[in-house]
Point group: C2
Chain length 188, copies 2
DNA sequence: GAATTCATGTAACTTGTTACATGATTTA
DNA sequence: TAAATCATGTAACAAGTTACATGAATTC
């Protein structure tokens, strides 16, 4: 469901093609959502069928034809209803593949888990760095207009969540490594 | 995919019915995974078809018949391969419905977001409390056998991740509230 | 007498992933 | 000349959700 509202949210600011929307999802919003073209085009079709979007084809001379999607009144209403439903209780169900694996790790090779966790820590540190860049980009961008400045407050919140999460992952990774290493020594 | 390995992991310790597996998922492993019976029975069927599980029906006089699933040699091999693949890079893609909503929140009602975040903080605090109970349960349980003691190290790691995550959510929630409240005051 | 537990599923649907297909233009 | 960009998708599949169905035994 979230992807559909994400598409509506982006189209609420500006009419776009599926291709452009895909770029937003896989560049700007990438750190908390991503989507394949196959899903985007399918969902755009559904949203149009439901009357939340309209499309018109724009001929281009040198490039392929564009199918430009525009949000309708009913689409805007639906988006607003969704945005104002701020019951976040269902978001706590955090399915985590890593944790299933860790849960059963006594059956596996401890050394592989250790090096896996080391990589995991390094990856999260890299991600932390990239979040700093995202914040810099937002800083630059936020002076363009009053609207963007207002938006940027919320964009920073999403980045902030990413930062806190990455830091938490790193903290957890180190904690696990310590346990595993001391446990390893005891078994020598 | 994780659910299938979760089922294999549980069945590796003890043969069980779909019903018992469902209880494990929705009681013990609930805080990082959950599953409906419909999915469990379907996946058990697939795992059996692939030769990872075998089943036999046990007649019961007073209760409904049981279909007891047992892991096969090939199932154990498959589980071990999966456990020893410790590349966690794909687990960083954290799709987050909450963040999509926050990203577009300048379009919505700020006061609804504030009260939503307050509830979110309260929920996470509640969850933190429940993790403490889970740790107590593990403490009690871990003395039963050497095997369980060894397992419990990893169980605690999963709980620890839950705790760090919940604390992070709370920290983030407060951070957002402060921003929203000061922003609100400026607009008076 | 009502609700819960035990124990099995099926059906229909939504969401997300992987792989494939087309074909011109532009950049390295 | 190879790769990337622009721009559209389809097909098949995997994973997850929601709703429904059955029926006895036990507990409140």
């Amino acid at each position: 469901m979230s992807l559909k509202y994400g598409l509506l949210g982006l189209l609420d600011d500006k009419s776009m093609t599926g291709y452009e929307l895909m770029k937003y999802f896989n560049e700007s919003l990438n750190f908390f959502w991503n989507a394949q073209t196959s899903q985007i085009y399918r969902d755009l079709g559904i949203l149009e069928k439901n009357g939340f979007l309209e499309s018109k084809i724009e001929k281009q001379s040198t490039k392929p034809d564009k199918k430009l999607y525009t949000i309708t009144k009913s689409g805007k209403e639906s988006l607003l209803l969704w945005l104002n439903d701020c019951d976040f209780s269902s978001t706590l169900k955090n399915r985590d593949t890593l944790l299933i694996k860790v849960f059963f790790s006594s059956k596996g090779d401890c050394h592989k888990l250790i090096s896996g966790l080391q990589d995991y820590i390094a990856l999260n540190m890299k991600q932390l760095e990239s979040y700093k860049k995202v914040n810099n980009d937002i800083d630059k961008y936020s002076n363009i207009s009053e609207k963007i400045h207002k938006d940027s407050i919320y964009w920073r919140m999403t980045v902030s969540k990413g930062i806190i999460l990455a830091k938490g992952n790193i903290e957890w990774g180190y904690e696990c490594l310590e346990i595993l290493k001391s446990d390893n020594n005891n078994n020598l």
